[in-house]
Amino acid sequence: MKTKTWLAGCIIAGLAALPSAALADYPEKPIEMIVAFAPGGGTDVAARSIARFMEKHLGGGARIAVVNKPGAGGEIGWTELARAKPDGYTIGMINPPAFNSLVVEGKAKYTTDDFQPIGNMVYDPGILVVGKDSPYKTLADLIEADKKAPNTIVIGNSGAVGSSDHIGLLNLNRQAGTTFKPAFFGSTAPVRQALLGGHVPAATMNLSEAVQLARSGDIRILGIMAEERSKALPDVPTFRDQGIDLVVTTSRGLAAPKGVPLEILAKLQAALEAAMNDPEYRDAAIKAEIPLHYLNAEDYKALIDLISKNLAETWKVTPWR
């Protein structure tokens, strides 16, 4: 598959970059983009799409080959990225907060300082949802039901233990004094189905995974775990609107190993920014309901550090593993 991707990259790069004549010295050979998840997943599709546009904006016939190194919840790929030569020819996708929580748990063979962020692409907040026929109309209803019968309400979880969903629920329990129990479904499709079929009373997942069902009225979002409301669903309140300071979002961004020469970092950052502003890319992303949110290297680093700090605090009070 590597060869295939490479070939595909060649063809596209050949077609897209024919006119640009000025050949800068970087990149002189194909850039490897490590994806720590399997082909076909959200991160993989995001990587393959942005790679195509970054090739265009790097110019000079630049090629980016996406290489999947899945396993252990991303740890295999991220460890490899951390250990890669910092010459700008190995970059990769990172997914905070999962990326950070492995470090906070003391499990990872890397630290967040082993990376040089290039920029953030996607910012997808967590949400709490119920089915359309649920008796819980608002967040307050659900919290009240829990207070009446503690330890009985099960919330479907789109991830595993330690996922951003799980951490969101732990924080909710801590801040609202509730006793919701998570049921781990491992991925989004099964928990969405269980929610629609009424097998679980409520569920947590990411906003982009529920926008369509919320719009069609099949599910009701009780709260978004973000600082502000979503442009896609302006009527849906955040947790902050309802008096609970709960902010848990997942992000997808690009990073290189620490120590990449500054001029190469600048080129990569500029290419990412230009790719994200490319009308064709923006158009496709908006159609696909991908919540794009560009942050430059500096801002992305600050975000990653903030996520680590919050996670460490949660870990101290309620270690999830």
Binding site: P39, G40, R52, G71, E75, V161, A183, A189, L196, Q212
Partner: protein, 502 residues
């Protein structure tokens, strides 16, 4: 619905879009036939390439890739005893036996005709039932899925082979392998020996290749050493016509397709389960169940019809609710989104021409498969078998190692492949069947995690497992599957005691 269908037809039959379906079908055949490359990977690579193209061109390629790849897996399964895709394992059981008996051409013909019939019926059911069938899948919660997995495990009874005890041991080996990895509810690692590479359990593609590809390669080498360079046992001449024998296969095609469609609609169960259930059903219904696994073409027909019927049906919940019925459907969902097609009930109202066009393309690619897969592919891939064994063995080994490496891009998987492959070779020599192993690996973790979920949701009340009508139906089916072999044995004993003279 008829209006939407009619307005979509001209778009589907535009030359460019027709070509896209054809291109996808051929590419799918190749991807499916190469061990290690899965349809999921093929479509994942395709999506970014089709970014700026017309939606129906892109979707046509995906539809072709899906049906083509799903059948492609049967080619090496029949000719080489190497499953091209996880779903083709059940096809090996009788398909490779037929090749050994010199009936490879007939086996391939049965496979392609059955696959086409399954895919066509599946595509038709997609077009007709899409919104209605979704209600069925919503009835399945964790408790119901637990029983589906148990039903699948019960079908092991029909895969055990001649030696009951060895079959059970093989199943337990599979269940034990299935426990390797990280438990998603507690984060506890089991049997990973501290290796990151084992944290998600053994990769199913690696395991399949090790169990099914390595032993035959080693046997080929062994044979070549003993006999030098034997003449080819393969005759790819016309060996009867499947269509002429349609009366024999019709009931199998119908039942297997229904099974495939139902399993396809249920998210999470996926292709390999529908093949096993269809295979088991055909064996159960047969008058000579003992001929299954020994080169009975009905086994190939059941497995491939079930496999094909799974395809379009798994798109039903994907298109109408955004819930993919299989890994491939999940990737296609991503492909739809890239083209601005938001799955859900409104999809059918907002973009009827594209949705109906896509569904017609699923049907079209199934029909094209009959032409492309039947004639061309069989001839081309069949040539592989004409190679002398001393050449063929390393060629297969090459394909398998490249394919396995491509899954995770890591050497670790190749070491695992070799290690498990050697063990599998020994098990093969000792006459342990390997199909029950793979079934245990696939179904064990499903049964465990769904049981755990059901218990979490019910607060530990075991009655939750039997409370819904759907659970009861699954339990009844399981008992039925388990009782059938006993009933046959009892009947045989009775017959032999009634007619002792014979």
């Amino acid at each position: 619905m008829i209006d939407a269908l009619l307005s979509a037809l001209p778009l589907v039959f535009e030359p460019a879009n027709l070509f896209a379906v054809l291109l996808g079908t051929v590419a799918g055949l190749v991807v499916g036939a190469l061990p290690g490359l899965t349809v999921t990977t093929g479509i994942a690579v395709l999506i970014p390439l089709t970014f700026g193209l017309d939606p129906l061109f892109a979707l046509g390629m995906m539809a072709g890739m899906y049906n083509g790849g799903s059948y492609g897996g049967a080619i090496p399964a029949i000719l080489l005893r190497v499953p091209g895709t996880p779903a083709s394992v059940a096809t090996i059981l009788d398909g490779y036996e037929m090749t050994k008996q010199g009936k490879a051409a007939y086996a391939l013909q049965v496979a392609v005709v059955s696959g086409v019939i399954g895919s066509v019926l599946s595509a038709i059911s997609l077009i007709i039932f899409a919104p209605g069938l979704v209600k069925l899948s919503l009835l399945f919660g964790p408790a119901e899925y637990f029983w589906v997995a148990i039903l699948g495990l019960a079908t092991v009874a029909s895969l055990l082979g001649d030696d009951f005890l060895k079959g059970l041991i093989a199943t337990v080996i599979g269940l034990l392998i299935g426990t390797i990895g990280t438990d998603i509810s507690s984060g506890t690692e089991r049997y990973t020996f501290g290796l990151l590479e084992f944290a998600d359990g053994l990769d199913i593609v690696v395991l399949l290749s090790a169990l099914f590809a390595i032993p035959p390669v080693l046997m080929m080498i062994e044979e070549a050493l003993k006999t030098g360079m034997p003449g080819d046992l393969l005759k790819l001449k016309r060996q009867g016509s499947v269509l002429a024998d349609w009366r024999r296969y019709l009931p199998i095609w119908m039942r297997s397709s229904v099974i495939g469609i139902i399993i396809g609609v249920l998210p999470g169960a996926g292709g390999s389960m529908s093949c096993y259930l269809a295979y088991n059903d055909a064996k159960r219904a047969s008058r000579q169940p003992e001929t299954f696994g020994k080169g009975n073409p009905e086994g190939v027909a059941a497995s491939e019809a079930g496999n094909g019927a799974d395809n379009a049906a798994s798109l039903i919940p994907a298109l109408t609710l955004g819930i993919p019925g299989s890994g491939v459907a999940a990737v296609i969902l991503g492909g739809l989104l890239v083209h601005g097609l938001r799955p859900g009930p409104q999809l059918f109202a907002e973009h009827p021409d594209v949705v109906y066009g896509f569904m017609v393309q699923m049907l079209l690619s199934a029909v094209m498969l009959a032409v492309v897969g039947g004639l061309t592919a069989t001839r081309i891939f069949g040539q592989a078998l004409r190679l002398p064994r001393v050449v063929l063995a390393p060629v297969i080994m090459l394909f398998v190692t490249v394919g396995v490496y491509a899954v995770n891009n890591t050497m670790f998987d190749l070491y695992t492949l070799l290690g498990i492959g050697l063990v599998a070779y020994m098990l093969d020599k000792l006459d342990y069947p390997n199909a029950p192993i793979i079934l245990g690996v696939i179904l064990g973790p499903i049964a465990e995690s769904q049981l755990l979920l059901a218990m979490t949701i019910s607060g530990g009340d075991p009655m939750a497992l039997v409370s819904s009508p759907m659970s009861m139906i699954m339990i009844a089916l399981t008992l039925f599957v388990l009782a059938t072999p006993l009933w046959t044995v009892w009947k045989q004993r009775r017959r032999s005691s009634v007619e002792p003279a014979k």
